[in-house]
Structures are given as structure tokens and as C-alpha cells.
Subunit: 336 residues, 2 copies
């Protein structure tokens, strides 16, 4: 590659597109399926229920403490598959590049994607690259779609929470949202906050190995814990009560949120899972979670009730109780 910036010709489908594929994507994503070189990847799947999901990533900045848009794009889709109780297997990857993007940055991102995919045990098997004129996109957008096989014998869905269930979060909340905010506000010199961006398929696998008694799994990304719990309460037609003093949150995140007048319940997470399960399964699940580095700060933070249905309430530290609504408006655009 003689040039050091992406030009429109890299998206033409012609010679330079092929150079990009050969010199960057095949290098960092290399696997037997991708190397088939056809427009569609071909493979066989084990027998079972399939999970299929997609996410586009438009995070700004594209590099941040704890990750980058590439790592996020792999983790995001892996985590959505894990949240359906599936073992993630194959990813697709679509790039939209802005003319002028340094090729070195694209390669760093591709390397990060390849590394994360290897860590997750998934293969990036098919892809696509488009280039738009300078000013028609912001640096790089990535879409990943993913296929997984759902573990036999489990029935996990946002609609399966029932009264009496306990609500677990697998660690400190708000770290991804805060880390992006800190980068944007140029507070990064004074803050140690890192994005929690991480693949959670092993965490989920560990849990499902000790029990099949899991009703809901969902990763509270955009909109944070509050929005995701509201989704679940609506889907399951139940009420959820949170105990504020049980919600794990670092001093740094609490401090930044107080400083900027933001509520950590609405801050995005990219390495946390909500687990809703019957009380009888809590001990075994918590033991499994505590033994995994990515979920060692797990905590039981709430409970499911019959009423008020479709509502999330929080019991505050001071003893009061208030409604926690779904996010209205946009607390922080382009968080993922």
C-alpha cells in the first residue's frame, strides 16, 4: 500500500479494495472460512437453535481508554449473542470509511478486532468495505452481525422474568459511558476511568455450566442499567425494584457523574450483563461470577415483583423510593 490514507478508490470494488482485503483484513482476521474468498462465507453449524444479531458502531472518539471501535464492534455482537444464551461462532463485518482515514488507524482497528475475535473464540468470516467522501461520514463506522448456537435446554428471553426472581449485575456500572465522556471533555489526564468493553461469552458460559435456571440475560449498553431494566419489565410485564446501596459503582464514575450532573443508572456499559434468575440459583451463579475476573464485582441489586407492572423502582440509600424511567432524550450521543 503506497498511499497512507483511504481514498475513494479503496471502496470501488476494484484493485485497491482487493489490496485492502489482502493486506489488512485477511492478515488480521485470517481463518479457513474467510479464505474461501467468495461473496458469502460457507460453513456448517452444529444442530440447535440459532441466535442471529447485528449492531452498528459509530462511537466517537474511535480510540479510547480500554478499547477502540473495533474491539467494541466485536464485543458488542458477541455480548448480544451471549445474552441470548448462545455460544458465539461467526461474525460478519461491514466497514464504512471516510475518505482521508489514515490506513494505519484502520489497521490498528482491524488488529484489535482480530485479537478480540480470537479471545472470544469467534471467526470473522465475511465482510464488506465502503468508502464515502470526506465529510460524508466521521472517520469509520463498523457493523458486525453474528451467529451463535443456543445452549441446549435453556430458555432465556427478556420476557421470562417472574415475581420473586433476583436481579444480578456482573460488576461496576457506567464505566464505558464515563470513559467516552472523559475523552470527549478532555478530562482524561485527570481520570483513571477505562471503558469496561469486554467479551462476556465466557462469563455467560460459566454461569450456564452451573445452572440452566437463568430467566433473563441482557447487557445494559446504550441507555444503561435503567433503560435495559425498563425494557425487561415491559417485556415480562413485571415490576423491578432496585436497591441503590447494592449497585456496584466505582468512586471515579460516581465522581464524574456528580461533577457533570449525570445519572450512572443511564450510563452505557460494554462489559456487564444483567442476570435475572430464581432465588434458588443465586448462590451458584454468584460463585461462578466471582471466580471470573470480568465479573468479580457482581452483586445482587434487585428483585422482581408482580406490581407495579412495567415499572422499575429504586429504593434509595436514604430510604425513599422513586420511579426509574426509561431514558428520554439522549444523555450522550455516539457512545457505541
Amino acid at each position: 500500500m503506497t498511499d497512507n490514507k483511504i481514498t475513494l478508490a479503496y471502496g470501488s470494488g476494484g484493485k485497491l479494495t482487493h489490496d485492502l482485503i489482502n493486506n489488512i483484513f485477511l492478515k488480521h482476521f485470517s481463518n479457513d472460512v474467510l479464505l474461501q474468498g467468495n461473496d458469502a462465507a460457507e460453513f456448517e453449524l452444529p444442530v440447535g437453535r440459532i441466535a442471529f444479531t447485528t449492531d452498528s458502531f459509530v462511537v466517537s472518539p474511535i480510540f479510547f481508554k480500554g478499547g477502540d471501535i473495533g474491539k467494541l464492534a466485536v464485543c458488542g455482537t458477541v455480548n448480544d449473542l451471549a445474552a441470548s444464551g448462545a455460544k458465539p461462532l461467526y461474525l460478519s463485518c461491514g466497514f464504512i470509511l471516510e475518505e482521508g482515514l489514515p490506513i494505519e488507524e484502520l489497521e490498528r482497528i482491524a488488529a484489535s478486532m482480530g485479537e478480540t475475535a480470537t479471545k472470544c473464540g469467534v471467526k470473522i468470516v465475511t465482510g464488506d468495505t465502503k468508502v464515502v467522501q470526506k465529510g460524508a461520514a466521521d472517520k469509520i463506522f463498523i457493523n458486525t452481525a453474528g451467529i451463535g448456537i443456543i445452549t441446549e435446554g435453556i430458555q432465556i428471553s427478556g420476557s421470562k422474568a417472574v415475581p420473586g426472581d433476583k436481579v444480578i449485575i456482573t460488576g461496576n456500572i457506567g464505566e464505558h459511558g464515563c470513559s467516552i465522556l472523559v475523552e470527549r471533555e478532555k478530562l482524561n489526564l485527570v481520570s483513571k476511568i477505562e471503558s469496561d468493553c469486554a467479551p462476556l461469552n465466557k462469563v455467560v458460559e460459566d454461569v450456564l455450566e452451573v445452572t440452566k435456571e437463568v430467566h433473563v440475560l441482557r447487557d445494559p449498553t446504550r441507555g444503561g442499567l435503567a433503560t435495559t431494566l425498563n425494557e425487561i419489565a415491559a417485556q415480562s410485564n413485571v415490576g423491578i425494584k432496585l436497591f441503590e446501596d447494592k449497585i456496584p459503582i466505582s468512586d471515579e464514575v460516581r465522581g464524574i457523574c456528580e461533577l457533570l450532573g449525570l445519572d450512572p443508572l443511564y450510563m452505557a456499559n460494554e462489559g456487564k450483563m444483567i442476570i435475572i434468575c430464581p432465588e434458588i440459583a443465586v448462590a451458584a451463579i454468584m460463585k461462578a461470577l466471582k471466580s471470573n475476573q470480568l465479573s468479580k464485582n457482581s452483586a445482587v441489586i434487585g428483585e422482581v415483583f408482580e406490581a407495579p407492572a412495567k415499572r422499575v423502582m429504586i429504593k434509595t440509600v436514604t430510604g425513599g423510593s422513586r420511579i426509574v424511567d426509561m431514558l428520554v432524550g439522549d444523555q450522550l450521543p455516539r457512545i457505541c
Copy 2:
């Protein structure tokens, strides 16, 4: 939806994102799998080899004669699946929207996607929507990924062309590329050219019903017929010779290309398939193609040779012979 333009809040993951999903996407894509409402769609697949592919669409303008970015996004992925000999079954769909996009335009695009999906017999089962600030994207970008099941007993790949094979194109070339060009150059008042944007899964199905003797299928989109044949020649390590006088092309496309100094061999197609097969299968395939409205102008346009390997040559109308290289540079950005 009280507002008539997309705001950043529609991408927050919160209330307005849910409104968009409920009022537009569920309305136009509605099917049993999508209605599960989880982050990943769940379904079972028939036994067989899986095809999996993805494409992002950044075409400008987003509405054009013969289609729009939504129809293109469904057809593009359906056609990539069909080109692997697969029956397309499920699609994912990721939107990146620019703040300020009229919601009415988004709905027209979603309606077009839903209609095209129904026509193809595929279900849009999972999706994602992101919104970026005004100026950080151009109106709307769409990614689709797709899953299909490969017809039993066939082995189709860009690497399977062998000397003696014939090259078929399923109709007039260059119509999508020309139609976009005409829109951009505001020549649309004087031209009747329409994009050929169409789903080809039924065309491929018809062909595979009459014979399994198909070696290569590929749709010549970006980079056109010339670039796609170069890809195949390289993958199969063969030479391909085209006969210029056999290549079907409308007078309008020829005229526009002459006027603007462009070569129709490099103009994008979005509703055409290249079929490479042994001579013995040609008659049956051509008969099947001629009886389908979408491929009634099919023609045998070339032949596969051992040498010169990895080269595409064309025998011109005047009797000469020249090399047809892969597209270098970018004839027309944001064609799809």
C-alpha cells in the same frame, strides 16, 4: 411520533429508539421472529451448509429510478446469498441515520425493504439503529447481513471455473451504475434509464432446478462485469475471453457511457448474475433464464480458457483483442 425529523435521541437506546422500532420497523418488517423482541433473533435452520454474508449501503442519492437504498440493501444481500447457491432465509439490518433525516423518508425506505423482503421470501429478524450528528454521515447508511441454506449437491465458488466453461450474463449490463450517474448529473429528465436493482434468488433457484452443473455464480456489482470476471479468473486460475458483440447492453446505457466517456464493462449492476457452467448445461440454463422476466435478455458472452491465466480478454466488434483489467481508481463512488 410528534417530531418529523430524526434527532439524536432516536439513537439513544431509550424511549424514542423504542418508538422508532415500534412505529416503523415492526410495522414494515413484521414477522414472528422479529417480534420476539430480544437483542438476538432466535430460529432453527434446516440441516445443510450455511451461507453468511454482509454488505453496507451508502448509495447517493438514496432514492433513484428503479429503487432506493432500502430495496438495494435487501437485494444486495439476497443476491450475494443466491450467488453462493443458497436459498436466502434471514436478514439483519443496521441503520446509521444522520440527525435531521425526515422520518417520512426513513419510513419510505423501511416500507421498501419490507416489501422487497416479502418478495424474496426472506425475513428481517434483527436490527439496530444509530443516529449521528448532522454532518457526521450523509442521510442514511444501511447494513444488511444474511443467512441462507445452500442447495444440496451443488458446489459453487469463484474458484470452480474450468477451461471449456461458458460465461453467461443474465441481462443488459450497466443499468444500475448509469441510473445513479444520470440522477447525480441531473440528466434524469432526458433519460429513461432505470436501475436494474432486483432480487435474483428466484432466477438462481430456477437455474439450479434444471441443473446442478453450475460452477460459478457471482453478481457483478461495484466494479462491473470486468472487475468481477477478473476476480473469478484469479480465483480459478484461468483465462476468460469475452465476445464484445454478445454482451447485452441497451442503447440508453451505451449512449450515456459514450457521452460521459465511461466503459459499461465497469458500470455496476444490481440485478444481474454471471453464470459460469460447462457447455453441456448451457441450453437448459438459457431456457430457464429466458422464461424469467428478470433474466429474459440473458446471453452467452464468453468462454473460459487455460491461458493466459488470471486474465480477462475481450474480442472486440472490430475483430481485435484487448486485455480487460480490474477497475483501478474509482469510476463512480457511492454506487451502492
